[in-house]
C-alpha cells in the first residue's frame, strides 16, 4: 500500500466539485482511498482520521488545495495524483452567454451584470458565508443562505440587518425554498397554487409542499428560514417577516407553518401575528402537544392545507387520512409476514432531519423507548451514532456524517453501508428509510439504494417513503416503482411509513401473545 499527496498552492474549488473528483478517484480499481480538499485545519484532521495525512500537508494552509491518495502500488498512486491534477486544471466550457457577459467575481458585480437581480443564493463554506450574505443584503438582494456553520451571533446580526432593509434572509442552513414557483437549492417541482409555507425545517417543507401538490393543490411561496430562527436568541425574526408577507400576499389563501416547537416567547409572537388575519393557518410544531383537529404529522398538515385550498371540509381531509390507513392493511400483512424470527427493533435511517424527528414523535408513543443521534421529544440520545441500540433513528445529515462528505441526499455511501449492517443485525425487526427527490438531491436515488435494499429486504421488511412529485427530475412514480421492484414496501408519506412500522411490530406482538 502506498500513500502520497500533492499540494496545489492558491487553487480554489468549491467543495462539491472537490468531493466529486475525490469520489471519482476513489472509484478507480486499486485506489484504496482518495480525498481532494482545501487545507483547512478541519480538513486536515479529516485526512488524518482517514489515514490520508502525509508530512508535506503539515505546513499547508486554508489557501492550499490538498490531493491525498492511498493506492495499491506506487505507479497507480502517481497516475491517480496526475489524474487529479488534470481534472482540476480542466477549465469548464464557457457558457454560451459568456462572451456577452463578463465573469463576475463578486456579488456586487454579479448584481450589475444581471439587471433586476433580486435574490442571492449563497452556499460557500460557513466561514465566509456570513460576510457574503452581508454584502448581498447591502447590495439590496434577498438572501437564501444555504451554508451551515454560521454562528448564531452572525445569524442574529444578519437577520436584523435584513429586517431593517425589508429584505428576506433565509437560513443559515436553509435547504429549501420555492419563490415565485422557482425551486431553490433542495426543493421539489410542485404545482403553483394558494398554499403558502413558512418553514424552519428543510425536509419538512419538502414533504408538505410535495404532498400538497400531489393532493392536487399548489404552493404560492415556500419560505425556509432555517431551523434556529424560532429559537429564543434569534427570536423568530424571519419566521415572523415571512408570515406577515404571506398574510399580505394576495396569491396566498392558506398558510402552513412548519417547525420544531418554537421557543415560548417566539411562539407567542407567531400566535399574535397569526391572529391578525382571516386566512386559515395550519400550524405544525412537530413534537409539541396537539389538540383535537390539529395536525401532528407533516402528512396531516399537508392534507388539511390541501383541503382548505380546494374548498373541501377539514372533516373530509381527516376521513381521507383514515381511509388511507385502511388501504394500507395489505402492507401491514406483507410486512408482518416478512418479520425475521428474532428481530425486535425498528431501525430508521434518514437523510432528512425532519423525517428522523417525525419518526421519533410518531413511534415513541407506540414503541416506548427510542434512541437517536438527533433526539427529539421523548427520544433519547444514542451513545454512538455508529452503533444502533433499541429502536433507533439515525439522521445522516448530522455533522458526524457530513464532515468532508456531501449531504446524504446526494451521497448514499454511508447510509447504504448502514442498511447492510442493520439488515445483518439479528436484533433488527425492520428498516425504515426516507427517499428525497427534487432539485439538489441525487439524480437517481432509487438506483443508488437498490442494491442495499435488495440485500436487506431478503432478511427484514424495508419500509420507505418517497418525498417528491412526478414533475421532479427523478420522477416520483418511477422511483416508487423501482424501489418496490427491489423489495421495498413504499408508503405514501414518511408519517405513513412510521405508522406502518408501528403496526407491523404491533402485529408481531399479537402473534406472540397468541
Amino acid at each position: 500500500m502506498k500513500r502520497g499527496g500533492l499540494i496545489l498552492k492558491g487553487a480554489y474549488f468549491d467543495s462539491v466539485t472537490l468531493m466529486g473528483i475525490g469520489r471519482e478517484l476513489s472509484a478507480t480499481p486499486g485506489v484504496l482511498d482518495a480525498s481532494v480538499v482545501m487545507g483547512t485545519d478541519t480538513n486536515r484532521s479529516i485526512l488524518k482520521a482517514a489515514g490520508l495525512m502525509i508530512p508535506a500537508f503539515d505546513g499547508a494552509d486554508d489557501m492550499d488545495l490538498l490531493i491525498a491518495v492511498k493506492a495499491k502500488s506506487a505507479t497507480l498512486l502517481d497516475q491517480t495524483l496526475a489524474r487529479a491534477e488534470a481534472a482540476l486544471k480542466k477549465k469548464p466550457a464557457p457558457a454560451a452567454s459568456s462572451a456577452s457577459r463578463p465573469v463576475a467575481t463578486s456579488i456586487e458585480t454579479a448584481a450589475q451584470t444581471l439587471p433586476g437581480a433580486n435574490l442571492a443564493l449563497i452556499s460557500v463554506a460557513g466561514t465566509y458565508a456570513a460576510e457574503e450574505a452581508r454584502k448581498a443584503l447591502e447590495t439590496g438582494l434577498h438572501v437564501m443562505l444555504f451554508s451551515d456553520n454560521v454562528s448564531i451571533e452572525s445569524e442574529v446580526e444578519l437577520k436584523r440587518l435584513a429586517k431593517r432593509k425589508e429584505l428576506l434572509l433565509m437560513g443559515p442552513d436553509a435547504g429549501t425554498a420555492i419563490i415565485n414557483g422557482v425551486p431553490l437549492a433542495f426543493a421539489n417541482v410542485v404545482a403553483r397554487g394558494p398554499v403558502g409555507i413558512v418553514a424552519a425545517s428543510g425536509t419538512g417543507a419538502q414533504e408538505v409542499s410535495s404532498l400538497v401538490s400531489n393532493h392536487g393543490a399548489g404552493i404560492s411561496q415556500l419560505i425556509g428560514v432555517g431551523g434556529r430562527d424560532v429559537k429564543r436568541q434569534v427570536g423568530g425574526i424571519m419566521f415572523l417577516e415571512a408570515l406577515k408577507a404571506l398574510i399580505a400576499d394576495p396569491q396566498t389563501k392558506v398558510i402552513v407553518l412548519v417547525s420544531k416547537p418554537p421557543d415560548p416567547v417566539v411562539l407567542a409572537k407567531i400566535q399574535h401575528a397569526a391572529s391578525r388575519t382571516k386566512k386559515p393557518i395550519v400550524c405544525l410544531f412537530l413534537g409539541a402537544p396537539t389538540r383535537e383537529g390539529e395536525p401532528h404529522t407533516l402528512e396531516e398538515a399537508a392534507a388539511l392545507a390541501a383541503a382548505l385550498a380546494q374548498g373541501r371540509s377539514l372533516d373530509s381531509a381527516w376521513a381521507a387520512l383514515e381511509q388511507q390507513r385502511a388501504d394500507l392493511a395489505p402492507m401491514i400483512d406483507a410486512g408482518a409476514a416478512a418479520l425475521p424470527a428474532g428481530g425486535r427493533y425498528v431501525r430508521g435511517l434518514f437523510s432528512g432531519g425532519t423525517f428522523c424527528a417525525e419518526a421519533q414523535v410518531i413511534l415513541a408513543p407506540l414503541l416506548g423507548k427510542v434512541y437517536s443521534n438527533a433526539p427529539t421529544g421523548e427520544g433519547m440520545a444514542l451513545k454512538d451514532s455508529g452503533k444502533s441500540q433499541g429502536h433507533c433513528f439515525i439522521d445522516f445529515g448530522e455533522d458526524e456524517f457530513t464532515r468532508g462528505r456531501p449531504h446524504p441526499m446526494i451521497d448514499f455511501t454511508l447510509r447504504n453501508e448502514r442498511i447492510h449492517r442493520e439488515a445483518a443485525d439479528p436484533q433488527t425487526a425492520l428498516i425504515l428509510l426516507d427517499v428525497v427527490l427534487g432539485y439538489g438531491a441525487h439524480a437517481d436515488p432509487a438506483s443508488e439504494l437498490a442494491p442495499a435494499i435488495r440485500d436487506a429486504a431478503r432478511k427484514v421488511p424495508v419500509l420507505c417513503s418517497v418525498t417528491g412529485t412526478d414533475r421532479d427530475p427523478q420522477n416520483w412514480a418511477a422511483t416508487i416503482d423501482r424501489l418496490r421492484r427491489v423489495g421495498a414496501l413504499v408508503a405514501p408519506s414518511n408519517a405513513a411509513a412510521c405508522w406502518l412500522a408501528g403496526e407491523i411490530l404491533h402485529r408481531r406482538g399479537k402473534k406472540r401473545s397468541r
Binding site: 468549491d14 465573469v103 451584470t113 444581471l114 463554506a125 444555504f146 408577507a245
Partner: protein, 471 residues
C-alpha cells in the same frame, strides 16, 4: 425591494457557491448568474473588523486618490545627469528596482547590474573589486521609488547616468528614469561585460546630449497623449512599446535633425531608437511614477501607489500608509522562453515596470494588446478576460487610456488593496523574464499574478493605521 414586491417580480438570482444550483435555477426558468467566487485572502479578524468599520472613509479616500491619478498629465520635459537631477542622489548611492534590499539578498541580475554600474562609474576596475566594494558598505543602496525614480528590471541608476525628466503638469511633481539600452546583454538584466559598459558610455556621450537638445527644442512631449494613442495601436506599454516608440520617434526625429549638427550622430541616435521597440518603456514608467506620486499621503486610502520587485521581494506601497513597504516573495512568471531556456533558468519577477499596471496599463490594459498573450499561448479572448477581471480590484477607470475592444472603456485604474484581499483577485502583470545568472539577459516574456503576501500585509498595515496603532 420588500418581500411582497419580490413575489410580484421575476426571480433573478445571483448564485454564490455550488454551481449546480444555478443550473437548476435556469432549468426551472429563472435567470441566474454564477459568481466566480474565491474565499478572501486570510487576514486577521481584528484587521477585518477595522477595515469594515472604516469602509466609508476608505472609499472616500480612494475616490480622492483616484481623482489625483486620473487628472495627472505626465510630460517629458527634459534630461539631466542623475547626480544633479534626482533628489537625494549622491556619489556613493546606487538606486535599484523594487523594495529595499541588502547586497547579500540581491538576486543574480541585480548584483550583476550593481557590478556593471560600479565599473561604469570607474569605482572599480575588475568584477572582483566591484563585488568587494558593493559588499563593503561604502556604497549605499536605495529603491528608485524612494527617489522619484523607476528602473526597469534591475533598475540600477548610478550618479553619472543621464535620466529622462517627466513632469506631471497638473500637480507639478517630477519623476525620472534612465534611457532604455535595448535588448540582449544589457545592464538592466545584470550584464556587465565591456560591450555593456561601452554602450552606457556612448549613451552618456552621444545619445544624451542629442536627446536633450531635441527635447529642449520641442519644449517637451505630452506622454499621456502618446500613450492613449499607443493603446489604440496594440501596445499595453509594459511588455509591448512598439507603437509608443514609433509615435515618439515621429515626434523626435525632426527635432533631432534640426538640433544635431553631426548628421552621423543624429543617424546613430535615430537608428538606436528605431532598433529598440522598448525605448518608450523608460518613458511610460516615469510617466506612471509622476502620475501616481500625487496620490501618496491620502489618509485612509487603500489604493496602491507602488508595485515593484527587486528579483527577491515584491513590494507594495499604499496611498494611505506613508513610506511603509509591504513585501512578499517574488514569483517566477509563466512565460514563453526563448529557444534554449526553460523555467529553471528564470529569475523571479524583477523591476519597477509593474508601475505600468499600478496606473492602469500593462497587464491591466492587456485587452488592448492581444499580441502579448501569445507569449503564454493565450487567446485574444483571454486578454479581454484578464483586463475585465482587473476592474474588480480597481477604484475606477481611466478617462484617457482606453481599450478599443471593450468599446473604448477606460482601463481599470487604481488598484485597491482591500478589494484584492476581499475578492482574492491578484493584480495581473505581463513582464519580461531575466535569466537568474547575471549578464545573460532576457530569456523570455510572460505573465504572472502578483503574490498575495504584500497585499495581505498592506491590508493589515492600513488597518493598523486606521485603528490608531503605529506600525
Amino acid at each position: 425591494m420588500p418581500l411582497n414586491a419580490l413575489f410580484e417580480s421575476d426571480l433573478r438570482v445571483v448564485n454564490v457557491g455550488v454551481p449546480s444550483f444555478a443550473e437548476a435555477l435556469r432549468q426551472a426558468g429563472a435567470e441566474a448568474v454564477q459568481v466566480d467566487w474565491k474565499p478572501p485572502l486570510p487576514v486577521s479578524e481584528e484587521s477585518r473588523r477595522t477595515i469594515a468599520r472604516h469602509r466609508a472613509r476608505i472609499e472616500r479616500a480612494n475616490a480622492q486618490a483616484l481623482e489625483r491619478i486620473l487628472s495627472a498629465a505626465p510630460r517629458w520635459v527634459g534630461m539631466g545627469r542623475a547626480l544633479d537631477t534626482i533628489p537625494g542622489m549622491h556619489e556613493d548611492l546606487l538606486l535599484h528596482a523594487g523594495p529595499p534590499i541588502t547586497w547579500d539578498r540581491m538576486c543574480g541580475p541585480l548584483q550583476g547590474a550593481i557590478i556593471g554600474a560600479l565599473l561604469y562609474e570607474r569605482r572599480a576596475t575588475s568584477v572582483a573589486a566591484a563585488r568587494k566594494l558593493a559588499a563593503s558598505g561604502k556604497i549605499r543602496f536605495a529603491p528608485c521609488h524612494e527617489h522619484g525614480t523607476t528602473g526597469p528590471m534591475a533598475g540600477v541608476v548610478s550618479p553619472s547616468m543621464p535620466v529622462f525628466i517627466v513632469r506631471n503638469e497638473t500637480h507639478g511633481n517630477r519623476a525620472f528614469a534612465t534611457m532604455n539600452e535595448g535588448l540582449g546583454k544589457v545592464l538592466r538584466y545584470g550584464a556587465y561585460g565591456p560591450d555593456v559598459i561601452e554602450r552606457l558610455r556612448w549613451m552618456e556621450r552621444e545619445l544624451y546630449p542629442v536627446l536633450r537638445a531635441a527635447i529642449e527644442h520641442l519644449g517637451g512631449i505630452d506622454l499621456k497623449h502618446i500613450m492613449a494613442q499607443a493603446l489604440h495601436m496594440g501596445d499595453e506599454l509594459h511588455n509591448r512599446n512598439r507603437a509608443g516608440t514609433s509615435l515618439l520617434y515621429r515626434a523626435l526625429a525632426p527635432a533631432i535633425v534640426r538640433t544635431c549638427t553631426d548628421t552621423d550622430a543624429a543617424a546613430r541616435v535615430l537608428e538606436f531608437i528605431n532598433g529598440n521597440d522598448h525605448f518608450f518603456l523608460n518613458l511610460s514608467m516615469p510617466a506612471g511614477k509622476a502620475t501616481l506620486d500625487p496620490a501618496r499621503g491620502i489618509a485612509g486610502s487603500s489604493v496602491c501607489v507602488v508595485m515593484a520587485r527587486n528579483g527577491t521581494d515584491f513590494g507594495v506601497q499604499l496611498a494611505g500608509t506613508g513610506a511603509s513597504w509591504f513585501t512578499g516573495p517574488a514569483a517566477v512568471p509563466d512565460a514563453l522562453f526563448f529557444p534554449g531556456y526553460t523555467r529553471k533558468d528564470a529569475n523571479p519577477d524583477i523591476g519597477d515596470s509593474a508601475i505600468t499596471e499600478t496606473y492602469g496599463l500593462g497587464g491591466f490594459a492587456i485587452a488592448a494588446a492581444p499580441a502579448i498573450v501569445q507569449f503564454v499561448g493565450g487567446t485574444a479572448a483571454d486578454a479581454v478576460g484578464y483586463t475585465q477581471r482587473m476592474y474588480e480590484i480597481c477604484a475606477g477607470e481611466s478617462r484617457s487610456y482606453q481599450v478599443p475592444s471593450l468599446d473604448f472603456r477606460g482601463t481599470p485604474t487604481g488598484i485597491d488593496a482591500v478589494k484584492v484581499v476581499e475578492k482574492n483577485i491578484l493584480p495581473f502583470i505581463d513582464t519580461g523574464v531575466a535569466h537568474r545568472k547575471p549578464g545573460v539577459g532576457q530569456i523570455g516574456a510572460g505573465v504572472l499574478n502578483a503574490p498575495p503576501e504584500p497585499f495581505q500585509r498592506a491590508y493589515e498595515g492600513l488597518a493598523g493605521v486606521l485603528g490608531g496603532k503605529r506600525r
